[in-house]
Symmetry: C2
Subunit: 226 residues, 2 copies
Amino acid sequence: MSEPEPIPIVGGTGALGAGLALRWAMAGHPIAIGSRSAERAEEAAAKLREAVPGAAVEGLLNQEAAHREEVVFLTVPFRAQSENLNNLREALRPGQILVDCTVPLAAAVSGKATRSLGVWQGSAAQQAQEMVPEGVAVVAALHTVGAPTLADAGAELDEDVLVCGDRKADKARVARLIELIPGLRPVNAGPLEMARIVEQLTPMLISVNKRHKIKHSGIRITGLPG
Amino acid sequence: MSEPEPIPIVGGTGALGAGLALRWAMAGHPIAIGSRSAERAEEAAAKLREAVPGAAVEGLLNQEAAHREEVVFLTVPFRAQSENLNNLREALRPGQILVDCTVPLAAAVSGKATRSLGVWQGSAAQQAQEMVPEGVAVVAALHTVGAPTLADAGAELDEDVLVCGDRKADKARVARLIELIPGLRPVNAGPLEMARIVEQLTPMLISVNKRHKIKHSGIRITGLPG
């Protein structure tokens, strides 16, 4: 079997991106960490190679990373989502899948992390779908995984990842990448518009964390076969 | 120990109300089933006494049921919520807790059950809070339990119930009633405004059910202590 292609993470130097990169590296999967700064991308890559000896990881400019593989993860905060999508206009090409992990927390505009912003298009993912070049499909996922938990290599994961998108095949493809991380179970939650609800789970879980004085709660869907 | 007071269920002849009544009766708790029609309330009560021999259950007009106990459950569909709250204006009194289980599915106006309506106040529960008499506190809960699953006495429950409300003591009181039903774990999800998100879980789970060809999926919060 040939070496799998690296997973590109736009915003891979941020908390969520770095956490995912660590987990995929731990699973033996190659990673392309993207950043606005090639230097910071390479720093993050070096740090990851130190944390996971033998990890196949490179640091690139976001545009270079996004151009690499068919499935691209966008892990920037909501405040930076539009800017990043603007910067990716020339890099993304038809046939690619952009996995948007953005959550429109009110914290993006100095509000509470237990509240969310109304996004004109209905959800951050639908905003992304409007902004990507024609022929690029957006899939929404990974909103409820906790960056600090991902970043803690010793922490066991045990939760579901709700995946929204308009094409079953796209969601299945993203699901296979999510499944590479032990303890995460992807669950097809419906079309991309369902991101309106799935993105809201994050402020709700932050509220649960506060109420129960815990660092991370996750979502599990009961009643699924298998 | 004296006999516990009956739990009043406004709309107790509907699918969710009847399902909850069955489960509380199975747990040995007395119930007051409310309906707009005293006759239908008594019919439902008789049916419940047949299903659960020895069940302490009475059928009453909604207004009579709501006047009985301090914690009142409102289990009507969203389409009927305002009408019912109008009818309860004279029946409810300060100090009572109204547990709103309403979900503003778009199905209420012939839309899809996988979509929801925007409610002016932010959520059905907040609409209820605006409509109840001064001094009545609204708690939102039980949106994601499935009426057919509750109504199937042989079906095992195994899921969480997210509880929203502005006073911790009110939520704890409602939680104790929910805990009477084996397999349901109440989880404090935050203030009443969090119902904006929690009410949305129902259309999301309906979408999950469709995608996975199952009858009922539920919510579980991972990472909680105990």
